[in-house]
Amino acid sequence: MNQIEKALIDEIKKTLGRVADSNPAWRLVLGTETLSATEIIKKLGNDKKFQRFVLTHYVGLAVEIEQKAREKIEGTSG
């Protein structure tokens, strides 16, 4: 994991920490597993496959947000 990915994971953990405090009943259902925010924070720390899953989608979403922004600009500039 590079510096940027580590920083992103740290930020996600902070957000999940807030979720754990504000909504203790919050759960992620992942196949047969049901995980609390605290359990996901732990999983992000020691499960490389799960880290990769989260990072891939965050980066993927960032790309799609950028694409949408460009489409908006192109849609309004004509």
Partner: protein, 230 residues
């Protein structure tokens, strides 16, 4: 149209999926689709096989809201209710499921035998802070296919729905929910006239040489090796 709806409930995930299927049941009733429901303790391999073989009912549609594995759909308690041994029972009908992974092997086999299959090729996930949006995503294909009858565009419309919901979740700050929605959308498959895709070079070559159905009939070398090692 006649449907068999199977919805076990025995752990936390199935508490939710049981609820998601309620909307499907309601749509069926409104659309005049005759439904036999096998819920909870009734959702067993034996009962499912019984209905699928019953000559006076014979459903056109099999709906399964529960866990899944690559080559099976689970029944009450978690054992396989449908797998490669009895999936011929789905060969002349259409299957609609939100189960994890089942489109990977089971769906391909059902399609190869002549059935149609709506399902997911990887683990399905959702979060409890956006249950309505996840219900919409899991059920939208059913609406497009069987209520609106838009077979040709159902998959692309469903993928658009997953995308829209992903960005709605980003907009409300529910990032974990958004990545689950995005992942589910990417893993959704519908095998009808569309053939299953494969990332395996060998499989692609077999399909090219033998044609779609025969190309998929040959088990993957990894599976052959696993069987041999057993």
């Amino acid at each position: 149209m006649k449907a068999l709806l199977v919805r076990p409930r025995f752990d936390k995930p199935t508490q939710y999926t049981f609820g998601f299927a309620e909307e499907i049941l309601q749509w069926c009733r409104e659309a005049g689709i005759a439904v036999v429901e096998l819920a909870e303790a009734e959702a067993t391999r034996g009962r499912i096989e019984e209905i699928l073989k019953y000559p006076l009912f014979l459903p056109d549609l099999y709906i399964h809201y529960d866990h899944g594995v690559e080559d099976g759909l689970c029944g009450q308690g978690g054992g396989n209710a449908i797998d490669l041994k009895n999936c011929h029972l789905l060969a002349t009908i259409e299957t609609y499921t939100l189960a994890c992974l089942s489109a990977k092997s089971l769906g391909v086999e059902v399609w190869r035998q002549g059935g149609k299959y709506w399902g997911y090729v990887d683990v399905v996930s959702f979060t409890t802070d956006a249950l309505d949006r996840f219900k919409e995503s899991f059920n939208c294909g059913f609406r497009y296919l069987f209520i609106e009858g838009d077979r040709q565009n159902a998959l692309s419309r469903a993928k658009d729905t997953f995308n829209r919901l992903t960005f709605e979740l980003v907009g409300t700050g529910k990032m974990i929910a958004a990545i689950c929605m995005r992942e589910n959308g990417q893993n959704l498959r519908y095998y009808d006239t569309n053939a299953p895709d494969s990332g395996c070079q060998l499989r692609r070559m077999l399909i090219k040489v033998l044609g779609q159905k025969r190309g998929w009939a040959i088990p993957s070398p990894l599976k052959i090796m696993a069987r041999w090692m057993k």
